[in-house]
């Protein structure tokens, strides 16, 4: 038999064999293999970094899992740095493991996230909405100010704009997007670009 274990909207994808899934909202992240997440370095234990990814266990990241890293050429990672990587091992029985290179050895955007900027947490549903192709929120925000954005599937977003004030404005809008309808968001952005 089939048992539904979470509440949410039932979605259907007609392509291929067809798939049904339950789209649920939650704030707590559970590591999944292949997810790209933002982790915070909490400790350096010999050859391995411990990262806090928001799950129940810290993830491990080997120092060789960066592009161009060798035993002599170690990456410059300090405690408290932000890392954008993906999970290679993530199941309920083992400690999650991350890497910052893809299967061909290139970094493809992963690695240590630069200085400054602002990291904050939102619900997992909002991240999935922002990562959907042609997301209106991102397009509308980019009309406002130029900014850098990193989205982690664990609910963490890192934003950096030219000034601290612009960064904080973008942070507030992204946090409020969770509860605002499209109309309210367009009104808020119109007010801001008018100023």
């Amino acid at each position: 038999g089939l048992l539904v274990t979470k509440c949410g909207l039932l979605r259907h994808r007609p392509g291929g064999g067809g798939a049904y899934w339950v789209d649920s909202q939650q704030k707590r992240y559970v590591p999944v293999k292949g997810d790209h997440v933002i982790g915070i370095v909490t400790a350096k234990a010999g050859d391995v970094f411990r990262l806090d990814v928001g799950g129940s266990e810290p993830a491990s990241l080997s120092y060789l899992a960066f592009e161009g890293a060798t035993k002599r050429n170690r990456p410059n990672v300090q405690v408290g740095d932000l890392i954008y990587g993906q999970f290679v091992v993530a199941n309920k029985d083992m400690e999650p493991e991350m890497v910052c290179i893809d299967s061909s050895g290139r970094s493809s955007g992963m690695g240590i996230i630069g200085q400054d900027g602002f990291l904050f947490k939102v619900s997992l549903g909002l991240i999935r909405k922002l990562l959907a192709p042609k997301c209106e929120i991102i397009q509308e925000l980019s009309q406002l100010y130029p900014f850098e954005l990193v989205l982690g599937m664990n609910g963490r977003i890192w934003v950096k704009a030219k000034t601290v004030q612009q960064t904080l404005i973008i942070v507030n809008i992204l946090e409020a997007c969770e509860y605002m309808t499209a109309e309210q968001r367009k009104q808020a952005l119109a007010k801001l670009s008018g100023n």
């Binding site: 274990t5 979470k6 509440c7 649920s24 309920k92």
Partner: protein
Amino acid sequence: GVLERSREQLLRQTCEAVLLGVLHPRTAISLVLQVLSDAGSLLSCCLNAACMALLDAGLPLAALFCGVTCALQPDGTILLDPTARQEQEARAILTFAIASSNRKVLMATTKGSCSVEEMQQCLAAAQRAASTIFQFYRDSVRRRYSKC
């Protein structure tokens, strides 16, 4: 005190019966309930709040559960969801935790004394009332997901 401890144990046993713990080994799930005001039927209120919190957090559950309190008055009538005043005057207070899958009883606790037939009648009334509470859960969740 002892009363709070017993309430904690009852809540814990009910939650453990529906939570799919196999999906989260070596993990602690802690549930914190803060009583803002108590107007009677506190235990079933806690049960309902606990179920909604588990739903909202996205924890995998095998079934939903709800709490219903029945007060048996001295003349034999059954009162559902008694107020604090009605609880004091009643001959017996019975609280049931009812699962949503088949309206089976997950937890039953009694304060006072009643006969077996009276308990069966209270149970039947509680199972009927459970449908109303589950409908409330459904409406709340629908309202929450309508904003997405």
